[in-house]
Amino acid sequence: MSARGRGVRVTGDDRDVDRYDRRTFLGRSAAGAAALALGGIGGPVLLSGCSSSSSASTSAKPGVGTGTPKRGGTLTVGLNSDIDGFLPSTNHFDNSGIVYANTVYDTLTAVAADGTAQPYLAQSISSNADRTVWTLSLRPDVTFHDGSALTADVVVANFRALQQSPLTGQAVKVITGVSATGPLTVQYTASEPLVAFPYYLATQVGYVVALAQLDSADPSSHPIGTGPFVFDSWEPNDHFTARRNPNYWRAGLPYLDSITYKPIAQDQSRQSSLQSGTIELMVTRDPNAIVSLQRDPSFQQVTDANPAHGQNDVGFIYLNTAVDPLSDLTVRQALACATDTAQIAKLFGAGVLQPITSPYPEGSPYRAPDNGYPSYDLAKAKTLVAQAAPRHGGTIKVELATIPDPRLSELVQAVQSMWGAAGVQATVSQIEQVTFIDNLALGSFQAYTGDQFDAADPDENYVWWSPTSAGPPGTIALNFTRNKDPELEAALQAGRTNPDPSARAQAYQQVDTLLARDLPYLWLTTNVWSMTGTDKVQNFDNPTLPGGQPARGMTAGYFTPTEFWVEP
């Protein structure tokens, strides 16, 4: 069955109908698995091992519950940051924000373990033939924590809030119309074919909050959702606590009576808190902490390394292609050749991080077999520097900066040394986060460290890579590197609008190749997140969807606690 030329439909529980899944979406191409990562989304939905026939309850796999789930108890989880509020249209949901949101809200769709976007609060989602009109049917009898019903009108109101918000408006601007076509039916109209739309509904724009929250004078501080837990208290930079939702639409869930999140910014402090019993579960992406906790037999750990599907965040260096000397491709090539990513992974990866040459992981259908990314070659780097130097006053000078982070500070010093060996005079500095983002958006930088591009569908990175988002320095642009390659735009558009899986794979392989050719980014290493818990914490990485289908596990430090339980 080809996905081309006909509509698609997915239902939450019935899998025999037309499906928006890997089979229809990507077909059975030689490329194999889709890389449909979850980019900053609230997708993973957990289902206990015992609640369906696909139980893994007898497994000793870390994060998978053993034995019968226990109802009750409380859990304290250490996160790496705090949230700035709970309104999806106005607040920034980083990984911790998504965890909070997944606790009190549900998304309309969620990503399954096989990489497909599946209905969640929605019962089904379908499109017309060219993917410009998407129709979503909601589950009946779902209520918010304030007792109000989930209806199409509420979903429409939520989407309009997203459209009107400066924060999320740009992300949904391709959707030009949204309306309730029935009590539980919503229709979205896009200005161009939007193949990846179901994936967008599994992100921040897919959370649905109650009208009472939307209409509140202070909608950011008191979340009212349909989620597994009901908001109890939030003290910024101290804790967030939610209690079990007794009327949760997923019968029998959640298991915990309450859950508390403690934002602990320092990895070392979080680790000490786990080891001292102050918290029972923690997330981290510090490679040293991951290794240290991995070696401790009193803990169980899961990581998102080597994802079967999807595209995780990667570590890299932004090169501003609009400013001298980095506007010179030869200089960027020289820097790429001078950067020994294997050495960087060895120095800072603790055996956890791997060097990369592409934003797409190994095995992704979107990764070009050979994208042509320059490999480490010091002699070639020196030659390129010698070629380019006369055009830049005889010396190549580059300012490399990062945020105040001990590991990144050491990393830029290592890179400085590598570039210096090739004859590039690099200066390094630390810039406080807000100014850092400010400079990136305004193009007031030369080379900055980066950590980005986690995405459920490759189209989610369109806005960062498209030349249409690249303004001149001094104006705000989301394409921070200001790379304006028309071929790249053509490839991104092909991937965005063409529903044919093979064509999309080909388009994004072209994107991969063009990024390696243009070099707006110097790819460094993978990023790996982990969750580590005491033996008391059960089933923290065994997600399934309402129909029993496995869901995608912890990704980029976010999860849903619906089916966690604790041993007494």
Binding site: D84, P236, I264, A265, V434, I437, D438, T475
Partner: protein, 314 residues
């Protein structure tokens, strides 16, 4: 005395006003734009313009200052740009943590430093004095964060006697509250013990050379009695002045300890607000910290005049 107090109060008001201006200007001189912190990378010129107007940041600095200070006098410190939390509420949540940390840590410091200084001054340059003096050098040279990490490793991770992070409010659970502040208070007291010990020891030794002390000795009073009854009070002026500065600076200076122990005190919240360019939060908290510093030192000055009438006449 009354005139002295009135004069100092007038000075306090003037200093507070100057601090408010300085805090306001410094916050607005920080590089970076709060709209970017709020809007994130999805910022657009239109959105930025709208937000600046919404936050009142499109007005002149003078207008912004006037609006802010007028509101402060009516008890309205404004709202966080980011979380919507009122600044007054954030201060009300954070300040008790700092006050408790200050009280417990300084009590610990005084309880250890004063007896130690008395013992050392009783027999200067003898074994105990040398050990204490050398030890105090060591305590001063060890950074607070190292002490904090060591305390956590030993007392939280190894023997599980105290929590590694977090703060429990006294009203929630008094026992857990005390457990949650013990390690951070020790970390904060560590440096203070050394400073207080050294200040008091030096003054005690100097005082013990005074004529009236020789007179007391000639009366056959014991050295311990003389130290406690006759030398301690006149020797405590420097200690008191030092404590005033130390306590005042702890209002926000406990930042490192608050980060390591995840205590959402004033310093921790203030630094987070600075990073986020949360102007009203920074202004409110910095103003409270500065006023706290000034008030503490005013109280110390007052105590000094009570203890030593010469100060009043100076």
């Amino acid at each position: 005395m009354g005139r002295y107090v009135v004069t100092r109060l007038v000075q306090l008001v003037a200093i507070t006003f100057l601090i408010s201006v300085l805090v306001f200007l410094l916050v607005h001189l920080l590089p970076g734009d709060p709209t970017l912190a709020i809007l994130g990378p999805n910022d657009t010129p239109t959105a930025r313009h709208e937000l600046l107007a919404q936050l009142g940041l499109d007005k002149s600095l003078l207008q912004q200052y006037w609006i802010w200070i007028r509101n402060v006098f009516s008890g309205n410190f404004g709202k966080s740009f980011l979380t919507g939390q009122t600044v007054a509420n954030a201060i009300a949540v954070a300040l008790p943590i700092d006050i408790e940390l200050i009280i417990v840590s300084q009590a610990m410091a005084v309880i250890v430093a004063v007896p130690l200084a008395l013992l050392a001054a009783r027999r200067p340059n003898r074994l105990l004095d040398r050990i204490a003096t050398t030890g105090s050098f060591g305590m001063l040279s060890i950074p607070t964060f190292v002490v904090a990490v060591l305390l956590v490793l030993v007392f939280a991770v190894q023997i599980h006697a105290f929590p590694a992070t977090g703060y429990v409010r006294f009203t929630t659970d008094p026992a857990q509250n005390l457990r949650s502040v013990v390690l951070p208070s020790i970390a904060l007291a560590f440096g203070s013990i050394a400073v207080y010990y050294r200040l008091l020891r030096a003054d005690l030794i100097a005082t013990m050379q005074e004529d009236y002390i020789t007179m007391a000795r000639s009366k056959g009073l014991s050295t311990t009695f003389i130290l406690v009854r006759h030398a301690l009070r006149p020797s405590s002026f420097t200690l008191l002045a030092g404590a005033g500065i130390s306590i005042g600076s702890l209002f926000t200076g406990a930042f490192v300890v608050e980060v390591l122990f995840q205590l959402p005190g004033l310093g921790y919240q203030l630094v987070n607000a600075i990073y986020a360019r949360d102007y009203l939060m920074v202004q409110g908290m910095a103003l409270v910290a500065a006023v706290g510093y000034v008030v503490i030192n005013f109280v110390v000055d007052f105590l000094l005049t009570v203890l030593d009438p010469r100060v009043r006449r100076a």
